[in-house]
Amino acid sequence: MELIGLANYAVYMAIFIGIYAILALGLNIQWGFTGLFNAGIAGFFAVGAYASSVFTSPAADGRLGGYDLPIVVGWIGAMVCAALIAWPIGKVCLRFRSDYLAIATIGVAEIIRLVVKSEGWMTGGARGINNVPRPFGELPYFQSQLAYLALIIAVVGLVYFLVERQIKAPWGRMMRAIRDNEAAAAAMGKDIEQRRLEAFVFGAALMGLGGALFAHFNRSITPEAIDPMVATFLIWIMLILGGSGNNRGAILGVAVVWIIWSMSELVTDQLPQEYAIKAKYMRIFIIGLMLQLVLRFRPEGILPEPDYSNHEKKKKVPDANKASDASAAE
């Protein structure tokens, strides 16, 4: 009995790690590889969650819906909607230093929260959207959880594969060049604004996908489901701690931070009522402090960014040494 509960909890945790991994990979494209500061992750997440829910859920009174589209269409719709919101913001803000993007994305997240709350005809207002279909939802509880986990792992794997490919491609090389020396990249004739816009929109689309996966897992989405600041900040600390610029690091960071975050919740829930509320805020204080400590003592994260550029040189250098050693020996 105990064992089944534990297994249930582990699967539940793993599903969340998968969802957050997709968000962290999206942020890694924006921050890790391009150096764009997105402080509105929760906004794009919410857009994805609501878009997919509206597209796939059965009809309900008083709000948009009843399209009953296949879930895959919902997910693609979520990505497209998040990208469509990111595009104009990037278009205006990416000409300047990333500080402006940070402020603008805070604003976007705030406005999306307002729209979700007050446009009941679209989002169901405070009640949110219920009866969102869940893939494999008709199976018994544990099997259904496992099947959803498998689906998430497949999606994360696919996203990881695609991002990794893109980063090793000339596009990724160009992004790093722009991030590390903008003037030099511009002198080489790279269209910096356009490249940054691509990275920003692509990352936002992944965040939308993460939102969709979350909504379908929960079978519903309400305005209370996400605390914008805490959600955004958790993704940031996951990426920075894991290692920005490294996709495996991002996923590792998600696992580490999410396990610590959830475990600490289990601990604080045991406390008496009056301390439990304070402890909740202390946890937030501690993740804020954690970010400061990581930035100070290990800014490259647990797994630092791999040195993509020396990949081929490293292979050749030992050979050259050997040749020179051989000639010296002669």
């Binding site: 150096g35 500061f37 402080a39 913001i89 205006v92 803000c93 000409r95 300047f96 230093r97 990333s98 500080d99 402006y100 940070a102 402020i103 603008a104 805070i106 604003g107 976007v108 705030e110 406005i111 307002l114 709350k117 007050s118 600041m229 805490v230 900040f233 940031w236 920075i240 509320i277 304070k278 805020y281 202390m282 937030i284 204080f285 993740i287 804020g288 402090l289 970010l291 400061q292 930035l295 100070r296 800014p299």
Partner: protein
Amino acid sequence: MTFMDLINFYFVPGVVLGSIYALGAVGITLVFGILRFAHLAHGDLATFGAFAALAFVTALGVSVWVALPLAMVAAGAVAIGLDRYFYDYLRERPKILTVMASLGIALMLRAIVQVFWGVDTETYTRGIVRPESYWGLRIRDRELYTFVAMFAIVGVLWVFLQNTKWGKAMRAMSDNPDLALLSGVDNRKVTMLTWAIVGMLCAAAGFFLGLNTELKALMGWTMLLPMFAAAILGGVGRVEGAVIGGLIIGVVEEMSVLVIPSEYKAALAFAILLLILLVRPTGLLKGKVL
């Protein structure tokens, strides 16, 4: 609705709100101009200042007008401490990392307020204050004080920046930090001085917001976007620009209720911010663009 109603119910509250934004925006423009990064913890530092004033009022039983300077000193000290322990060591690294650190600080400051003061809304004084009528113009005392205090505080700051040695050093560092360093300006001391001033301005902004509405943990965070919009609208690095920007944003926000649903009042600052970045990124009075 008569013209006087328009003034009394929309314009006057707009000017009061604008004065509060102006106090915050001046601080933002100083950090943006002198230290060259967007300080995202600005709103939450204002929240801290407001609650510090509340602590002085409840613990010492002093009047709010004694609590204000005490809270300003406290917030100034906190701001210097934040720089000393969290921002300063990131000086040589890309500035965007300091922006990130400040987002973390925002969360930490808010958590501190929530732990110590809880999540209930608070007020400095109880009871309803009726507005006084000045030839048909209906203004509450506290609204008048807010407006006057804003001009007094910014006026003192202005004189300080224009006429004193340290004020000139701050302006020199804003124009060109390397040249200032070569001319013998101690960048470290100017940075500390800037933080002290910024902390005090934050506390004043938070205090007046608390005086005119109520105190809650999220009060500063919701002010962040309008304050940034005001600083950028006025021109980054321009103190007088921040005041003009703050007043414009405040009045536009309050007036907007006449044409758009009131839920979206908060979205207006964002719209103004995007618009100004699109058409005139240097702001109304030519400021910096980072």
